[in-house]
């Protein structure tokens, strides 16, 4: 037993080392290099961290983070719900797909940020225009994945459920939706990541608060340390959101045989 525990700890430490060593080295480089090579656009990590701490204490960072996350949340929510609903229809009814697919292809392949100025003109500089833009940007991955998920539902399972005389609603909730769930969940993971990217772009072009605005405002006013602080915050948010959505995906698809997929 003791030997086993020892091995376990050793193994854990090793894998922790493997996964962090490159990041640690890069962070060290970020500290060491600016000592010898001074450039106002590349401040030392220590300076940036000091600035991060300062903006955190002053509340500036929290307000901007809160604003960005709020916009992301509502945009993602709206995009997810509408994407799933329409995706289910598109996947199930061939006629709906025939009529809607061409226009959806055109809309999907239009750069989301190209629409931002239009959204700002129509809905103002406030949160609404950004929420709608994120909704637009997250709607399509959700839609496409949900449609695929419904289409890939195993016909044998549908027959099997039908043979047990399940009704249309039962078939939908007991077979189609669970069949599509892995697709929907991976669409959600992609969409959550996309929402963070879109919000930054949107806030740069016009906003009162938000991390994107913080980056843009700091850079145009040469608050380089602050700009880095905002970028680091965005990086951390991105990693956290990805980790959370991946965990959600894993915990809801435990029934899948992972050994075959990998």
């Amino acid at each position: 037993m003791k030997m086993q525990d020892k091995f376990k700890i050793k193994y854990r430490l090793l894998s922790l080392f493997e996964s962090t060593v490159v990041i640690i080295v890069l962070l060290l480089v970020w500290i060491v290099v600016p000592i010898f090579y001074k450039n106002m656009y590349a401040p030392s990590l220590l300076t940036v961290l000091a600035e991060l701490w300062k903006t955190l204490l002053s509340g500036e960072l929290l307000l901007n983070t809160y604003t960005s996350l709020k916009v992301c949340f509502f945009g993602l929510l709206a995009g997810t719900v509408s994407g799933i609903v329409l995706g289910l229809l598109l996947g199930w009814y061939r006629k709906v797909e025939l009529y809607l697919d061409p226009i959806l292809q055109v809309m999907r392949n239009t750069s989301t940020l190209a629409l931002l100025p239009l959204f700002v003109l129509m809905f103002g500089v406030g949160d609404l225009s950004k929420i709608l833009l994120i909704m637009w940007g997250t709607f399509f991955p959700m839609l496409i994945n949900t449609t695929q998920g419904v289409k890939n539902a195993d016909p044998t399972l549908i027959s099997s459920a039908r043979s047990m005389s399940v009704g249309n609603m039962g078939l939908f909730f007991k077979v189609i939706l669970p069949s599509a769930s892995p697709y929907i969940l991976s669409g959600f993971r992609l969409s959550a990541g996309a929402s963070l990217i879109i919000v930054v772009g949107a806030e740069m072009l016009g906003a009162f608060h938000g991390l994107g605005r913080m980056v843009f405002f700091s850079s145009t006013n040469y608050f380089i340390d602050k700009m880095y602080a905002a970028i680091i915050t965005l990086a951390i948010l991105g990693v956290v959101v990805n980790a959370l959505t991946t965990k959600l995906e894993d915990s809801l698809t435990k029934w899948q045989d992972k050994s075959v997929l990998s």
Binding site: D154, T156, S160, S163
Partner: protein
């Protein structure tokens, strides 16, 4: 008809009269149905309560299609079919189909899979669970109740599929080559288990297979099908003692049944044949083969 008189004292669980199925072609040229494909022709069959009937035939002879018609998942285009003397209009819980590909819901645990039909029946949760556990125990897989299907072997999955069909208590089990995908040894075990369950539950079973040995070993009667279009060529009574054990396969009687079925399957050139069904009535078998274009 004199036929109905004969049936009067004898309620059939499954009855099919002149069942035919034609797939209509989508491309019709000048209104001619040249592209139509006839899958089944004049299939007539009666199965009594508690009877075990095997339906044996080569791949593509329409035996699975016939089973799907009985399940209500596919519509017939000629003739009529009844379950419990009620015309088949769609799927219903008085019959359960067991498919070759198991068709277990991968996102449901074993127990939840077995509960599926009971949910449709709107049974309360406690009762569902108790019933499911009883049938999982019947197929000897209690310790796997909380596992997901991917964690089980093929033979285990098929036992769960059987448990799922039994759980909502249908009168009729329709089995579509259920053991075709498992290895020989497992298949032997599943045969004995199926017969044990059949004995215990007194279900009426139609068992579709392309294995001659399997069809004879399990059944009271073997219906032999010929393809293009699929029709029943002959029905043999299997007069072998029960309970059946693997040793019976070396019985000379078993051998002669095997030969007989083998000949019937081989004998494809001879399209018309007088056949004798189990109730002793003579009827004409398949009509001359129709041209299939």
């Amino acid at each position: 008809m004199s036929e109905s008189k004969e049936h009067r004292n004898n309620i059939y669980r499954i009855r099919a009269e002149g069942v035919g199925l034609v797939y209509r072609s989508n491309h019709r040229k000048n209104g001619a149905d040249s592209g139509d494909f006839r899958a089944l022709r004049n299939v007539s069959l009666n199965v009594k309560e508690g009877e075990f009937l095997s339906l044996v035939g080569p791949s593509g002879c329409g035996k699975s299609t016939f089973l799907y018609i009985l399940s209500g998942l596919r519509k017939l285009s000629e003739g009529a079919a009844w379950i419990n003397e009620t015309p088949i209009t769609g799927p219903a819980l008085d019959r359960g189909i067991i498919m070759q590909a198991y068709a277990l819901f991968p996102w449901r645990t074993i127990r939840k899979n077995v509960e599926f039909g009971l949910e449709v029946k709107k049974l309360p949760k406690k009762e569902r669970r108790a019933t499911a556990d009883r049938f999982i125990e019947l197929v000897g897989l209690s310790e796997f109740a909380d596992k997901y299907p991917y964690e089980l072997s093929g033979g285990m999955k098929q036992r769960i599929a059987i448990a799922r069909a039994l759980a909502y208590d249908p009168d009729v089990l329709l089995m579509d080559e259920p053991f075709a995908a498992v290895d020989e040894q497992t298949r032997g075990l599943l045969h004995e288990e199926l017969l044990r369950i059949w004995d215990k539950t007194n279900k009426t079973i139609i068992f579709v297979t392309h294995s001659i040995d399997e069809s004879i070993f399990l059944a009271d009667r073997v219906a032999v099908m010929s393809p293009c279009p699929g029709t029943i060529k002959a029905i043999l009574d299997i007069d072998l003692p029960r309970p059946r054990t693997p040793e019976i396969k070396s019985d000379p009687k078993f051998g002669s049944y095997r030969n007989r079925v083998w000949q019937l399957l081989q004998n494809e050139g001879e399209r018309t044949e007088e056949i004798t069904s189990a109730d002793g009535r003579k009827r004409l078998g398949a009509a001359p083969q129709e041209a299939v274009i």
